[in-house]
Amino acid sequence: MKKTVLATVAVAALTLSTGAMAAEKTKFDFWFGLSGDLEKRVQEVCGRFNASQNEFEVVCTSQGNYDAALQNTIAAFRAGKQPTVVQVYDVGTATMMLSDAFVPSYELMEKNGHKVDWNDYIGGIAGYYASSKGQMFSFPFNSSTPLLYWNKGAFEKIGKTAAPKTWEEAHDDMVALQKAGYACPMAINVSANESWQLMEQFSAIHGEPIASKNNGYDGLDAELVFNKTKFVKYITDLKAWYDAGLVKIKSKDLGQDMVQAFAAGDCQMMMTSVGDHGTVGRTAKEGVTWDVAMLPVYQGVERKNSLVGGASLWTLKGKSEAEYKGAAAFLAFIAKPESALFWSTVTGYIPVTKSGFEFMKKEGFYDKAPYKGREAAIESLTFTPPTPLTRGIRLGNFTQIRAEVGNGLQAIFAGKEEVQPAIDGMVTRGNAVLRRFEATYKGKQLP
């Protein structure tokens, strides 16, 4: 009798102590901006990390979208309730760098004893998130770059087996497609979001500046200059092609967005993120054969690397040592080539390290049907080593500048304004945004 009681007590004590041990796992928060299918994918990554060790537990919470993730984090930070790790989109990078609210990634990893080979990161990706001294301030996470999606079946009808490499060729193809009876040779959209493909990436691959001071890297007093570059000719051409019915605008407001129009076979070309590769694959109408290629450039232009899009992971100030240890372990876990393979398989995003890319190539990822073609994104990102103009964009409150670009493009395509004055307007108003940002951070310098 006594023995059984003792045994029960012992068992109870044991359960209690293991329970206590489980509770000793250091918990830390990770907020991100992806939603829908991608939210589930991020949760899977979190689950894999939690299962891979028993020291830490990451609690992952979606905030709905990138803007909300940043807004909520700012509000939480001001109230002292910020998460340890937060996902911030590419255009928020300059604002983050001046925030004085983060622990630089290189410092975090060094302090917690993780060795990271920073040179392993693909140059175009690293440049976007590194300080002027080349130290990485945040971890690239979901990374993408735009590609030209083209309908192989439609191109066969006009006797072509490859995507156009230049805009001159693309124009001829569109004319041929129109003659062959296709109502929508190319789909575009003109809103703040498309500033990414139409203005930023176009400028990068053509080696044209977006702003002075190397796109803002060399000082907060940078000024926008894209009203004096090839961008003006590009928009003039697009507008002319739109007027000729070669280019059609597709957006949610109209009932069908670009990706839907392409997947349904209604439009034969579009320019969008490699991140949509999976969606197009899943939703393409039966019989639609398609592929992706690098964005076209104008004839005679020496192509440069494209810019990385997507978001990176920032570690915020004001947390305990134990939480930082957990965050460092989490970031190291994500950076592993195996994680890159998993992440790229379940999403359309690209690996961010050379070793991750090599690992995936070795595993035969790019030979299999649904993923084939995605290597074009890496080719585009690494086409040349990053130049001072293709490192990235380091401009404050860039979300507002994108809105200016979107509004200007809408005015142009609605026929309300001429191309040059409209683009001059984007630049003037965008510069006002930059001056305001400069005044807000008076006396501060980009790290």
């Binding site: 803007d67 940043l70 807004q71 700012i74 930070f77 001001r78 604002t95 001046l98 925030s99 004085d100 609210a101 809103s191 605008i249 957006s251 949610k252 407001d253 109209l254 009932g255 069908q256 409150n397 979300t399 507002q400 809105a403 979107g406 509004n407 200007g408 809408q410 005015a411 395509f413 609605a414 309300k416 108003r429 945004v433 305001r436 005044a439 807000t440 951070y441 008076k442």
Partner: protein
Amino acid sequence: MERRASFRHWWIGIAFAVPQIVLIFTFFYWPAGQAVYWSMTLQQPWGGGNIWVGFDNFRQIFADALYWNSVALSTVFALFSTVLSMGLALMLAVFVDRELTGSKIYRVVMIWPYGIAAPALALAFRFIMAPEAGFLSFVNRLWPGLWDPGLDGTDAMISVIVAFSWKYVGYDFVFFLSALQGIPKALKEAAALDGAGWLRRLWDVQLPLLTPTVFFLLVIDITESFQDSFGIVDIMTSGGPARATELMVYKIYFDGFKGLDYSGAAAQSIILMGLIVALTVLQFRFIERRVHYK
């Protein structure tokens, strides 16, 4: 004789008022005061510090042609949506008051739109108004290119006005109907005996007695059109195309929360608050004089 409640001690009344005062202070005066402070500074979004700039933010806003554009758009929006929703609501209320067939059902159903959250309503209207796939696509089949809220600013404005008015028709309807039913039957009957048709009775008897309701709804609708339009604009047009639907309240949201220009947004919201206060005072000073409560 009028009866008044009175308290034995002077502080009891104050004690009753305290919870309300605390609430108003916490949720109105304190944040509003904070907004005034922010509007006089340049706030770093992450809270690293701020710089006192006095009235610079206001000066910049008033010098900005696009700000005046959004003021003009808000005025147009307020005017059309108020007239549209009040006009339709009055018409429907008169029908129901005359007890036409089905009026019992309508009396219940008509309030529903007001209960729908703005984003849900806006999603529905985005589909209805979509030129290629929505209910309105037949317009484009008859006259290609006629209807295009995606690129045509006027069409986009019409879309948001219609969506907003639809929501407030239900709200206005309930007030109009209860006011109509509050009119003593004897008045209408007397007019009928004198040989006045229903239109004449409406014009000479009912409408003059409705002026307090009309006035009340005018104040509410105009005020709401400056504030409640946000959800609809955000989902349907995001202020576009090319700023054609960038109402004041949407611009505040965009500059503040998307653009992280907290100071500029705070200054704009102070201006909007001032405008609504001024409008309400004006309405009470000048329009109310023409209203007959009895």
